[in-house]
C-alpha cells in the first residue's frame, strides 16, 4: 500500500445563514485521487483557490474528508482513533512563518510537538538538537524567532515538525511569503531531508521553479487533479498550464518559444544547462 492513498476525495465548504439554511456550497475538492509512495518528493501545483491547500489539510486530518476515502500510513483518516497517529506521522508546515511558531525561543518551539505527544524530557532534548541541525539552525537555538528572517523562521517550523519524527512532511506554500533567498534556503532544506533522510515530501506551491526537483507533479484546478506526471512531462505542456493560471520557468518558456519558432529543441527543457546543450548541438 502507498503511504498516502486518496480515492475520490471530496470536500465541501458549506456556508449557512442565521437560520441554518444552506446559503452556498463551495466544492474545494472534487473527486481527488492521490498516491504518494514512502520516500517520494511530490509537488502539488495550482493557482490560488484551486483546492490545493484544502487537500494539504486533509493529509494531516485538520479537515475530515466529506466523501471518498483517505488512507495515510496504512490508517483510515476517517477513524477518529487514528487522528493523533496520523498527525504524528505526517507533519505540516504552513504558509505564514509567524503564525505557526508557538514559543518565544527557537528550541522551545521545536520541543513543542514532542511535548504534546509525551516524549520523555531527555529524548526531547536529543530530538530538538538533531532537528535543528538537520535544517542548519542549531546556532539559533536560544534566539527569539522575532529577529529571524522569513526563511529562518520556516526552517525552525520544519525542525518543529521533524522533532516529532514523522515519516512525511506536507508543506503548504511554505515560500509564498519569503524573498528569493528565503525561498532557496527553505527549498534546499526540504530537498536535503528528502534526499538524505528519505523523508516523504509533499510540497504545495505555485512557484514553478520549485518543482523541477520533484519526482512527480500534480496540477490542481477547480478542486480536481487535472494533470500529473514528471516535471518534464508537465512542463512540456505550456499552453495547458497557462489555461490553469500557471506558468513555466523562464528557461522552459524560452525553449518552448524557440521550438515554436522552428528550432529543433526537445520538449520539456527544465534547466539552463539543458537548453545550452540543446542549442549547442543544433548550432
Amino acid at each position: 500500500m502507498n503511504f498516502i492513498e486518496a480515492r475520490k476525495l471530496v470536500h465541501e465548504y458549506i456556508r449557512r445563514d442565521e437560520e441554518d439554511n444552506v446559503e452556498s456550497i463551495l466544492t474545494a475538492l472534487d473527486g481527488v485521487d492521490l498516491d504518494v509512495k514512502q520516500g517520494e518528493f511530490v509537488a502539488v501545483l495550482g493557482h490560488n483557490g484551486s483546492g490545493k491547500s484544502t487537500l494539504a489539510k486533509h493529509l494531516n486530518v485538520l479537515l475530515a474528508p466529506g466523501g471518498g476515502t483517505l488512507w495515510v500510513d496504512g490508517k483510515d483518516a476517517e477513524d477518529a482513533d487514528n487522528l493523533w497517529a496520523i498527525r504524528q506521522s505526517t507533519g505540516m508546515v504552513f504558509q505564514n512563518p509567524d503564525n505557526q511558531i508557538i514559543a518565544s525561543v527557537v528550541e522551545e518551539d521545536v520541543g513543542f510537538g514532542p511535548e504534546n505527544i509525551g516524549v520523555p524530557t531527555a529524548e526531547i532534548l536529543k530530538r530538538v538538537e538533531k532537528s535543528l541541525k538537520s535544517v542548519g539552525m542549531i546556532q539559533y537555538r536560544e534566539h527569539s524567532p522575532n529577529r529571524l528572517s522569513g526563511g529562518q523562521k520556516q526552517r525552525v517550523a520544519i525542525a518543529g515538525v521533524m522533532a516529532m519524527e514523522p515519516k512525511c512532511i506536507v508543506l503548504d506554500e511554505p515560500t509564498a511569503m519569503l524573498d528569493p533567498n528565503g525561498r532557496r534556503e527553505v527549498l534546499e532544506a526540504v530537498e536535503q531531508l528528502n534526499r538524505e533522510k528519505g523523508m516523504t515530501v509533499i510540497l504545495i506551491t505555485h512557484y514553478m521553479e520549485e518543482v523541477t526537483g520533484a519526482d512527480r507533479v500534480y496540477v490542481m484546478d477547480n478542486g480536481k487533479v487535472v494533470m500529473q506526471g514528471t516535471p518534464r512531462a508537465i512542463f512540456s505542456q505550456v499552453d495547458t498550464l497557462k489555461s490553469y493560471r500557471l506558468d513555466v520557468p523562464q528557461i522552459t518558456l524560452l525553449a518552448y518559444e524557440l521550438r515554436k519558432a522552428g528550432l529543433a529543441i526537445p520538449e520539456g527543457i527544465l534547466t539552463r544547462q539543458e537548453l545550452v546543450e540543446a542549442l549547442c548541438r543544433l548550432y
Partner: protein, 265 residues
Amino acid sequence: MLRDITIGQYYPAESVIHKLDPRTKLMATLVYILSLFLFRNVAGFAAVTFWLLLVIRMSKVPFGYMVKGLKAIVIILVITVVFNLFLTPGETLISFWKLRITEEGLRNAVFMTVRLIYLILGSSILTLTTTPNQLTDGLEKSLKPLNKIHVPVHEIAMMMSIALRFIPILIEETDKIMKAQLARGADFESGNLVKKAKAMVPLLVPLFISAFRRANDLALAMEARCYHGGEGRTKMKPLKYKRVDFIVYLAVAGYFAAVILLRRF
C-alpha cells in the same frame, strides 16, 4: 514608533539570574514589589536601591536597555507627580497663582515616582531574564493547586505564553497599518477626542481581522503538532530547584526583613 517597548521582551544572556528557577524569580519579584510599598524613609529607600542595582548588575542586561522601557510610562509618571505635588495638603513650600506645593506633596511625589520607576524596572528584570515559556511554566507550576478548584491553569498559562509571543508581532503590524493609512491621508493626531476615536477605526479594523486570522492559523498549527491540552504532556525543560535557588530564597528573606526593620528609623 512602538518598537521601543521592552516590557515583556526577553533579553538573552548568561547570568545567574537567567538560570534561576522561574518560581524563585516570581516569588522574589513579588517580595520586591511588596517591599516597594513598605519602605518609607531614606534608609529603606537605600536598601531597596541597593537590592535593585545588585540584581540589575547580576542580570547582565544593559542598564540603558532597561531604562528605555520606562518611556512607555512617562505619561503615568507625569500625572502621578502632578497629582501628588499639587493635591497633597500640608505645609506650603511654594505657592503661585492658585497652586501650591506642600512639603508632604513633594515627598509623596518623589516617593511615588521612585516606586513606579522601581516597580517597572524590577518587574522588567523578571521578563527580561525569563523566557515567556519559563515564566508561564513557573506560573503553571506555582498555581497548580488551583486545578483542584477547576481553574484551567494549563490553558491560562498557554494563553499567556502565546499572548507574549504575539505582542511584538502585533505591535509591528500596528506600525505597518498606521503607515498604510497615513499614506492614504489618514490623520491620527489632530481633532477632538471623538474625532480621534473615529480615526482609530481604519487602524483597528485591519488589526483585529489580522489578529483573528493569526489566531485561526495558530490554532491549526498547534493541532497539526498534536496539541490537545495539558493532559499527557511532557516538558522539554521541567522545573527543578537547584542549590542557587535556595540561596536566593534566603537572600530574599534577608532583604525583606531588612526593609521591614528599616521602617523603624
